[in-house]
Amino acid sequence: MHKLSVSAYKEVLLLLRDWGGLAILFFMPSVLIITITLIQESTFKAVGESTLPILLVDEDRGEIGRLVAQNLAEAPNVQLITAVDGKPLSQTAASTLVGDGQYQIAIVIPEGLSDELNEKVAHNVDKILGEFALTEADSTKQLQRNEQWDPKEVIIYFDPAAGQAFRNATKNNIEKMLSKVEVEKIYAVFIDQMELEEDPGLLDNEIIAFKETIAQKGNDGIIPNAVQHNVPAWILFGIFFIVVPLGINLVKEKNLGTYIRLRTSPVSYLVILGGKILTYTVICLIQFALMLLIARYVFPLIGLIPFEPGTQLPLMILIAFISGLAAIGLGILIGTIAETQEQSAPFGAIFVIILAALGGVWVPTFIMPEVMQKVSAFSPMNWGISAFYDVILRHGTAADIAQPLSFLLLFFAATLLAAILYDKRHQSN
């Protein structure tokens, strides 16, 4: 026991005097959790709250152009721009401005779009009403003309730097707006054709409404937010980054020759590793506590929602503890196999990033391709994140997280065993 405690004490001293290692263990994850959460939160705000300038080139100069302009002008968070430097926008000018990155979006309503829509709607309404013999059956002639129509296209220019998600979201909104214009037009034609009064009392609101609700256990009204998604993910990323200093620590011992002393002393390798496991487990828990404190007390100071672990804190500590063991096992294995710091440090760092990517730290696993989803199931970070999400977002109990925690413990045991066997084999060879 004394040998284990002096080994752990030695590790503590080594860490306390290694500023670079301490930075990796505490400072970098702290910066990471603040930066990433801030960026993601800002992105949500950018989409939801900030004003987006949109260039509109109305070559139609008809009803649709007017309605689109009106809808854009009335839309929240949109700044409608139809002229630049006092000159009305042309398609070429709009394309250049967006291409140069000065604006993110430009919409071009082609010439004659209103006339075309009017004719199409009129034709369709005629056809429907004709079925009921409510109008003159002269649609056959019109149909022939329609088949020769060259459909006009609304052109949307995007900044090349705009992400696909942003483009899809914007395109959907514009399509939705144009559909609304189309529906309004159809209603208008029906009213006209059927010679109804100007306002027949049609419902103005959307016919089908949506209510977004988070499905969760219990009914305490807590709605998961970006912080609750980000904090556990980046806590876990920070914990797993322990692989880098731990790997370096082991390689350094081999290179310094202290490994020779340790292996020729009457102490089992497990005791030597035990000192490291003990110390780095405490480091993981301190790291976890630090990140939670940042999320709880620093986040509100920089405009983020504070993270409230509430009654789930004990289970979160358990997950952090067992995830820490898994990370330590991996660090020991990498440090045992690597011959130089140049091998262990980049490999450890890149491997953790891969595990994080696979584990769903950056991109949720459910939007990954099917193959990657299957691969993701083998990432220890995925098990850790699942456990955290089960506890924080789904209010899971200890029983609910038993499986991912068992996987993490098995991973720890397997990596530690592999490191010991490798070391033993290395000796006997």
Partner: protein, 250 residues
């Protein structure tokens, strides 16, 4: 004199290697000897010392320490041996005291006794004033002295030295050699490996020259010198027996 280490038909073959590092090597080391293990690069010296320290397992052969087999008594044997590797096997950011306390603790020495030995040891090698300074601030000679102390705190029966004075200033070398003689006088058997043949000639009571994993010759330094015609130094004997071609290996 009583035998402390007995090696019989010891062979070691590393996986993937074309040749044996040690091949049917037999050797007997007596208590209280200063036994010099000399040989060209790649001769098998390090493999032999690593095997004797229990770091690597032999492929075949028998190895006994004080009559105990290494197979069943590795920990017990390791308790009785000390090693001073060629590298400064110390943690650079820890102080001399912290390094010595850690390595001494691994041998199960009680804390108070260990602290007393560290204090005495540092005084003996002239480093009392530097006890609480990090090793990384020490000169090569100072680090070598701490390196030696780390290997002898538990007062081993057998001390393995691998190039203990390489890169050391004259004063530090004097202190190291004096301390080694003192230890030997107190009953410690010393197994010494070096390329400093002149140092080995004057320091060792017995010498074995090893080449290609086998003992080429074994005896007292003066006996070995006398056995080769025209030889006046151990270096002449060494060149005569191992040849003058380069022994570079990778």
């Amino acid at each position: 004199m009583e035998e402390i280490i007995r090696i019989h038909q010891l062979s070691k073959h590393y996986a993937g290697s074309e040749r044996y590092a040690l091949k049917d090597l037999s050797l007997s080391i007596k208590k209280n000897e200063i036994f010099g293990l000399l040989g060209p690069n790649g001769a098998g010296k390090t493999t032999l010392i690593s095997t004797l320290c229990g770091m690597i397992k032999p492929t075949s052969g028998e190895l006994r320490f004080n009559g105990l087999s290494y197979r069943q008594n590795r920990r017990k044997i390791q308790q009785q041996i000390g090693i001073v590797p060629q590298e400064y096997a110390l943690y650079p950011t820890l102080t001399a005291v912290e390094n010595l306390y850690y390595f001494g603790s691994l041998y199960g020495l009680p804390s108070s006794e260990l602290k007393r030995r560290i204090s005495d040891g540092l005084h003996r090698v002239g480093l009392t004033d530097f006890a609480k300074k990090p090793i990384k601030t020490f000169s090569g000679g100072m680090q070598r002295r701490v390196n030696l102390l780390a290997g002898i705190l538990h007062r081993p029966s057998v001390l393995f030295l691998d190039e203990p004075t390489v890169g050391v200033d004259v004063h530090s070398k004097e202190v190291i050699m004096a301390l080694l003689h003192e230890l030997n006088a107190q009953g410690t058997t010393i197994i010494y490996s070096s390329h400093h043949l002149n140092e080995a000639q004057h320091f060792c009571t017995k010498i074995a020259i090893i080449d290609a994993g086998k003992i080429v010759v074994e005896g007292e330094p003066q006996q070995l010198i006398a056995s080769v015609n025209g030889a006046t130094t151990l270096e002449n004997v060494f060149i005569h027996l191992t040849g003058s071609q380069l022994r570079d290996y990778a």
